[in-house]
Amino acid sequence: MNRTVSRPPHEGILLFWLLPLAIVCMSVFVIPVVQIVRWSFTDSSLMKEGHELSFRAYIALLSSNDFMSILRTTLIFVISSVLLQVALGFVIALFLDYGDRRGLRGTIIVRTAVLVSWAIPGVVAGVIWKMMFSEMDSGLITSLAHFIVPASRPRFLSSPAAALASSVVANVWRGTAYSMILLYAGLMTFPNDLNEASQIDGANAFQRLFQIKIPVLAPLFLICILLVTVQTFNTFDMLMALTGGGPGRGTEVLALYIYKTIFTEFNLGRGSAAAVLLLLINVAMTWVYFCFLKRGTA
């Protein structure tokens, strides 16, 4: 018995209409990525013509103590930022949802206020927090610290550990809104009957939160964590304005290292190698995201 596979109608036309998208994807994503990978295997510099093919950039990076310290700083910055952003975003979303359900006024103002921090460009956020963390007596947080403990001499930006903590605080302030939006959207669509049924069954607020709401919203939490993680790995503009990566290399994260290596040291080969490593981290994150998404829809 001959079985003929029927092709979907208008397949040729559909492919034709997808062509512009394919061209755009090729030119703005695939080609630049291929170029960066190619550069990463060279000793290219923006200050000289020509290059030699080699693994030198990867060897120099991976055998460098500085690079290991940058990776460690990046991990601390990303993990702390993500945990705090998601946790705070969820708390704010819960308050907003609570307010909405009871018809409280002012939730729009709160939402807008939180969103403003997200809308502010990274460089501006960095400058704002640099002023806030100023170690001069006139610095807002320093003067508060003096008020509480008169003899204190806080070093928010001049001690590496404190500068990293300050950077996390600034990043959390800026990024919490994103988590809040995602989780608030989840809470808005949370089935009310589930909530009511648990109340009838006698579950208290904490039980409803930890045994019903959070488990139901778990896939959304995962998506939120993954997106925020990728976003935080790529953060450098705010840090550039806040600390410039210092003191020493105290707050130099991978994305900032890439920028400085390429645009202030003109070392295209090594900067590209670091960019490829960052790309691999982001691809791994995206892969995890798709795996969970697939499992969720299955």
Binding site: S45, L46, M47, K48, E49, A60, S64, D66, S134, E135, M136, D137, S138, R155, L157, S158, S159, P160, A163, T243, G244, G245, G246, P247, G248, R249, G250, K260, F263, T264, E265, F266, N267
Partner: protein, 426 residues
């Protein structure tokens, strides 16, 4: 006699024709591709600068009515801008004329065209430029490939009411600082964070003063070996002593640019600081002219036995076009707006930079201030520029990290310097 008369008539006619030709607008028709930093262009954020440039370009356009000026803008990040311009030049896509960060000028020499004939015709004496500005635009063949049209200089600012005699040596600083600290002042500030300002202002002048060299004649890094290592170490140890004794605060580790010190100065607790001439205008707008009047300017203090030295920066125009007509038009453009007697006097006055030609300081159109003479004197005798070697940006970056780490107390001077040296050579 008749022959003599005829000769005179011919000469007179020739002269008249030449004069006529000079004042006659050029009939050449072409586009001139002019690439400038935003702050030096028609899209700058300072209305005074834009107004001046519009008028200057309009004047130039009278001479070249058929030339279409195509203005392009460099990225605001200087390092990024220079890297992109160099890439363009290497690929044969350079503009006809472009603005170049002067210290890096020698790297563009293979792509630039000489302008000696135009400089001579304009009556500009290259010896009128400060020595560093004259030297940097010359190729190995001795020809002139560009014109440095602005400069800046790093100096010591001190409060005249607190410091009677400005310190000349590090020992003087230590002596003066103790008394100032006891009075509750931050005695001595300097940029020590992650930006070019920290090395350019706080390290290189003191390093050069001791005779230190960042790179050798082949452009290879040498700052971390032999006598150079000792000289660099001296500076890091001196700064550490200042911080340890409480004369300089550790928060300097987060100030990468000279202008980062302005808020400290405005707070009124600073007695001395290392900075740039450009801070005069910035501080005048923050603390007012009365506040500024308290401040004096002196040479950067050096180690006992070292010579005077400072770091000078600025911008140049480089001529890429090989077409004679375009080169002439481009030269006349910069002559009109930035380089000629009045052009340099007006532009540096409007924009707040220092002229690179000594004679311009005496030009009636140059708006000098009470510090102009000392800036000129320091530039003339002490001015030095950073090396244009390919390795320099790496040296700068690693030494910024080293200085910042020492000031924050994260590393000892030896460890910081050795780490920087190892990183540069990796």
């Amino acid at each position: 006699m008749t022959r003599q008369k005829s000769l005179i008539v011919v000469l007179l006619l020739g002269t008249a024709l030449m004069l006529g030709a000079q004042s006659k607008p050029s009939e050449a028709t072409f586009s001139l591709n002019w690439t400038a930093h935003p702050a030096y262009s028609l899209i700058g954020s300072d209305p005074k600068r834009v107004e001046y440039l519009k008028a200057a370009i309009a004047e130039w356009q009278k001479q070249y009515p058929n030339v279409k000026l195509e203005a392009n803008i460099l990225p605001t990040n200087n390092a990024e801008a220079m890297a992109k311009l160099l890439e363009q030049a290497a690929q044969g896509r350079a503009p006809d004329i472009a603005q170049i960060d002067t210290y890096i000028f020698p790297r563009y020499l293979p792509y630039l065209q000489p302008i000696d004939d135009l400089v001579k015709a304009a009556g500009i004496d290259m010896k009128d430029f400060f020595p560093f500005a004259e030297k940097i635009v010359r190729g190995k063949d001795g020809k002139v490939y560009g014109i440095q049209f602005t400069t800046d200089v790093r100096v010591l600012f001190y409060r005249k009411d607190l410091v009677v005699n400005p310190p000349k040596t590090w020992d003087d600083i230590l002596k003066i600082s103790k008394a100032l600290k006891d009075k509750g002042f931050d005695a001595f500030l300097f940029p020590a964070g992650r930006a070019e300002g920290s090395v350019n202002t706080s390290l290189w002048p003191m390093f050069w003063g001791q005779g230190g060299e960042l790179v050798d004649g082949n452009g290879k890094a040498v700052f971390g070996i032999g006598a150079n290592r000792e000289k660099m170490l001296n500076i890091l140890e001196f700064y550490k002593e200042l911080v340890d004794k409480g004369y300089s605060p550790s928060r300097l580790a987060n100030y990468g640019n000279e202008a980062d010190l302005n808020t400290e100065v405005a707070a009124g607790r600073v007695a001395m600081f290392l900075g740039g001439n450009f801070q005069v205008a910035q501080l005048a707008s923050i603390i007012g002219k009365e506040g500024l009047a308290k401040w004096g300017v002196a040479r950067i203090p050096q180690r006992v036995g070292a010579k005077n030295a400072t770091s000078a920066g600025g911008w140049s125009w480089g001529f890429f076009t090989k077409e004679a007509a375009k080169r002439k038009a481009a030269f006349d453009l910069v002559l009109q707006a930035y380089v000629g007697d009045d052009g340099m006097a007006c532009w540096t006055s409007v924009a707040g930079y220092l002229p690179t030609r000594k004679s311009v300081f005496a030009n009636p159109k140059y708006q000098s201030n009470e510090y102009s003479d000392i800036f000129k004197e320091i530039l003339e005798t002490d001015g030095m520029v950073r090396p244009a070697a390919e390795i320099y940006p790496r040296i700068s970056s690693e030494m910024q990290i080293a200085l910042s780490a020492v000031i924050s107390g994260t590393k000892t001077p030896e460890k910081a310097l050795d780490d920087a040296w190892a990183a540069v050579n990796k």
